[in-house]
């Protein structure tokens, strides 16, 4: 096969794959709905945050636990960490909160420090609160039996 025909066939195959991708993506409805990227859409209603509740079950062992309460207005800066005013080892008992695990005291060389390590100080880099937002794509993920108990 000469070069130009091979090139034409490759291009045809590529567009075929691309259009297939596009039609697959068309079945998933995102926050934009079915609108094209250059169309203007109305902003979707804001999902309310989950109210204060019991601790949420984890899906895998290393998962940073989800925050089961609202965190509106809770600030973390170099002067104070609002989360730690309840969740630190000194405060958790009085606050009735879960204490941070000892992994939070380790620096990246696994040295154990006298206070929360800087790399674990900004809680919301890993821990998030929950809103009533269902997954966009259905899935059949199941935690391992050791965690779910089933």
């Amino acid at each position: 096969m000469n070069k130009s025909i091979r090139l034409a066939l490759m291009l045809l195959a590529a567009t075929g794959v691309a259009s297939m991708q596009y039609s697959l993506a068309g079945d998933v409805v995102s926050l934009r709905g079915h609108a094209a990227p250059d169309e203007e859409t109305k902003a979707p209603p804001q999902k309310p945050w989950r109210k204060d509740g019991e601790p949420l079950p984890r899906d895998y062992v290393q998962q940073p636990p989800l925050i089961p309460h609202k965190i509106k207005g809770y600030k973390i800066n170099l002067k104070f960490n609002k989360c730690l005013t309840c969740h630190s080892w000194a405060n958790y008992r009085e606050a009735g909160a879960t204490k941070i695990s000892q992994t939070h005291f380790e620096d990246r060389d696994k040295n154990v420090l006298a206070n929360v390590s800087a790399r674990r100080y900004f809680c919301t880099q890993c821990h998030v609160p929950q809103a009533n937002a269902k997954p966009l794509v259905d899935n059949t993920f199941k935690p391992i039996e050791a965690i779910s108990g089933k």
């Binding site: 309460h69 207005g73 170099l78 000194a90 420090l113 206070n115």
Partner: protein
């Protein structure tokens, strides 16, 4: 006295003083009393009106020390903007509502005028340096009055625990048992917490 009638007054002050010392010749007691009564109402009303002019958010943030520091922090909080739009502004929390306590606080506030003139906290850095001390003043005052200003709006006995979240129910019931007052737990509700290094080192990064 007969002497007073014959004295000559020279300056304005001595004339005024002479007139005030003499009993009234032309006006009856009733008229004088009524005039005094009306003047009293006017002056008392005027005094309170002037005092209330210093008792609103607009007046407080007319000083840049307040507007650029604590007011900006307050704008992020629930007392500034919330679901129902019911607000608590500067005097609602910092100035007592009862008249006697209010006047005492207003007299104490002359200290703030002094520091405004001296420029004690007129830059961001100076304010941050004093923040812990200023916060401690307010916390101490609130603790001493059993959070009287909070209770202007938040009536503990009217709290509906079925509407509160899990943490709030637990902490409020426990707080009642332990004899705590609002400010013991709700520090930082309206303005940024100060550097907690000295207050609670477990809540700050780095060790002492």
């Amino acid at each position: 006295m007969a002497d007073n009638d014959t004295k000559h007054c020279t300056g304005f002050i001595s004339c005024l003083w002479n007139a005030l010392k003499r009993p009234s010749v032309h006006y009856s007691l009733g008229v004088l009393l009524l005039a005094g009564f009306v003047a009293g109402i006017l002056f008392w009303g005027g005094f309170n009106w002037a005092m209330e002019m210093t008792n609103n958010e607009q007046f407080c943030i007319s000083c840049h020390e307040m507007r650029d520091n604590v007011y900006q922090e307050y704008k992020d909080t629930v007392h500034y903007s919330n679901r129902t739009g019911v607000r608590a502004t500067c005097p609602d929390c910092h100035v007592p509502k009862e008249w006697v306590h209010k006047v005492v606080r207003k007299i104490q506030a002359t200290n703030e005028l002094y520091h405004k003139v001296m420029g004690t906290i007129d830059t961001r850095e100076k304010f941050e340096a004093h923040r812990l001390e200023l916060a401690r003043h307010v916390w101490k005052a609130m603790k001493k009055t059993d959070s009287r200003e909070c209770r202007n709006c938040h009536d503990y006995d009217s709290m509906d625990f079925t509407e509160q979240g899990r943490r709030a129910v637990a902490q409020h019931s426990k707080g009642l048992e332990e004899g705590k007052t609002c400010i013991d737990c709700h520090k930082g509700i309206a303005h940024s917490l100060p550097d907690l290094r000295e207050v609670d080192p477990s809540a700050v990064v780095g060790s002492k």
